[in-house]
């Protein structure tokens, strides 16, 4: 089954082919469910002028934030970038471009990109700065704006368990943007906590079918917590 064995054995192999100027779609919400080792590999490779499509840009020193340290990122497409001082510094200095995109629109743009839908209409952002330059159209008496889909040269994804066919499940809210990101990469790379035998995952319960996955790698994860809140 070599053709369906998506497993690679090094992070070099996992991110091989990443080049300057490429667009990378990344799963994760805050620091939850982020492909932390794939990001670290990108830092190691030193690839520049990247456009990163991800809900957030990590924090200073962790997650996508580490790509800012060597100015690898040209542009971020995100809904929220508030947790990152270096980000703000580079943004205000004009060294970094940001395309603020509503969270739901961002998720839908990824899904649409993977699903062969080049554009869709949403009421989200109508009448706001997000609507600037976008077509407005009325349906059933309400105004909507047209949003175009997004695809990446690479998609980097963090899963929980996968089989070597590339079937992936996510754990709890570490699912977030990962399933959509997985569909929208020309090359989709998934890192997981556990690789299980084919047949172990219930076919009806797979979050990301293997057809979307090009490379799969077993990783170990720090899983840093952003806001540790406990019950008294």
């Amino acid at each position: 089954m070599s053709g369906f064995d998506k497993v690679v054995h090094s992070y070099e192999e996992a991110m091989a082919g990443l080049e300057d100027g490429m667009t990378v779609i990344a799963g994760g919400f805050g620091l939850c469910g982020i492909p932390e080792n794939l990001i670290a590999q990108m830092k190691k490779m030193g690839t520049k002028d990247l456009t990163i499509v991800s809900n957030n840009c990590g924090v200073d020193g962790f997650g996508l934030g580490i790509l800012l340290e060597d100015r690898q990122v040209k542009k971020m497409v995100s809904s929220y970038v508030g947790e990152n001082a270096l980000f703000m510094e580079q943004l205000l200095a004009g060294e970094l471009e940001v395309e603020l995109t509503p969270q739901g629109t961002l998720a839908e743009k990824m899904r649409a990109g993977g699903a062969g839908i080049p554009a869709f209409f949403t009421a989200t952002g109508y009448g706001t700065p997000v609507a600037e330059g976008k077509e407005v159209r009325e349906f059933n008496g309400r105004n909507y704006i047209m949003e175009e889909s997004v695809t990446g040269d690479f998609a980097i994804v963090k899963g929980w368990k996968a089989d070597r066919y590339g079937n992936v499940i996510y754990r709890h809210t570490a699912q977030n943007f990962n399933p959509m990101a997985a569909t929208a990469g020309k090359i989709t790379v998934v890192e997981v906590e556990e690789i299980v035998e084919p047949g172990e995952l219930d076919p009806s319960q797979i979050h990301t079918p293997g057809i979307y996955v090009d490379r799969l790698i077993l990783g170990t994860f720090e899983k840093r917590i952003e806001q540790r809140t406990v019950r008294k």
């Binding site: 919400f29 805050g30 620091l31 939850c32 469910g33 809900n55 995100s78 809904s79 929220y80 970038v81 508030g82 947790e83 703000m88 943004l91 940001v98 603020l100 509503p102 969270q103 739901g104 629109t105 961002l106 998720a107 839908e108 990824m110 899904r111 949403t122 009421a123 989200t124 952002g125 109508y126 009448g127 706001t128 700065p129 997000v130 929980w160 754990r171 709890h172 809210t173 570490a174 699912q175 977030n176 943007f177 990962n178 399933p179 959509m180 979050h207 899983k223 840093r224 917590i225 952003e226 806001q227 540790r228 809140t229 406990v230 019950r231």
Partner: protein
């Protein structure tokens, strides 16, 4: 006296109904969860992909893979479901959430809301707020009525970049509960001990004051 954060949360909680699916924004809205009336059950939707958010975890339960939209560690309640961000916003955008509570910098008489950006000062991003205000029919905005310097945040026209246009109908400030209708704020209730005059003075947008404005009771 102006409402405390807790009183704002308590007042919002009175809008809850048994069986409501509710999205609570970061900050004061989050507190609403603490004041769900006895015998009533609501399910909290967290837009990162959790319907049925439970309380914060105990130390033992903490799990980096279980967070809410504020990136706080949480738990899942009985009957919860967890899903992708696309599914989460399908719910939100599709109008399936019964009540959304969120903060704002400004609202105006047209139902516009500005809550995500102060040009040159604050450019963190809108997160899910634009989807929430566009997708929900029933939104309560919680905010202070005026700035520390006394400048009204209930305006004729928002001065900051909008989060949503024409989508807000209910505003709860520390001074009053108001509804927006036909290009005006309608003063529905006032905070205990707050005079109608003070509310008038601190409301820049057109304000309609009915003959009787009941005082909130806590």
């Amino acid at each position: 006296m102006a409402l405390t954060r807790e009183q704002i949360a308590i007042r919002v909680a009175r809008e809850l109904q048994d069986g409501y699916y509710v999205n609570l924004g970061i900050g004061i809205p989050t507190l609403v969860a603490n004041y769900v009336p006895e015998g009533m059950e609501v399910m909290l939707q967290s837009e990162n992909g959790l319907l049925g958010m439970g309380p914060f975890p105990t130390e033992d339960q903490i799990d980096a893979d279980m967070i809410n939209a504020g990136k706080q560690t949480v738990t899942a309640a009985t009957g919860a479901s967890i899903f992708s961000s696309a599914e989460s916003f399908a719910m939100i955008r599709g109008g399936h959430v019964d009540l959304t509570v969120l903060g704002a910098f400004e609202v105006d008489v047209e139902g516009n809301i500005a809550s995500y950006m102060i040009p040159g000062k604050l450019i963190k991003g809108m997160g899910g707020a634009m989807d929430l205000v566009a997708g929900a029919d029933n939104i309560i905005v919680t905010m202070t009525h005026a700035s520390k310097h006394g400048e009204s945040k209930l305006l004729t026209k928002c001065s900051l970049p909008l989060t949503g246009a024409g989508c807000i109908k209910k505003v709860l400030t520390d001074l009053a509960y108001l509804e927006i209708e036909d290009g005006a704020f309608i003063l529905k209730e006032r905070a205990p001990g707050i005079s109608v005059e003070e509310i008038i003075a601190k409301t820049e947008g057109k304000l309609i004051v009915p003959d009787h404005v009941p005082e909130m009771v806590f």
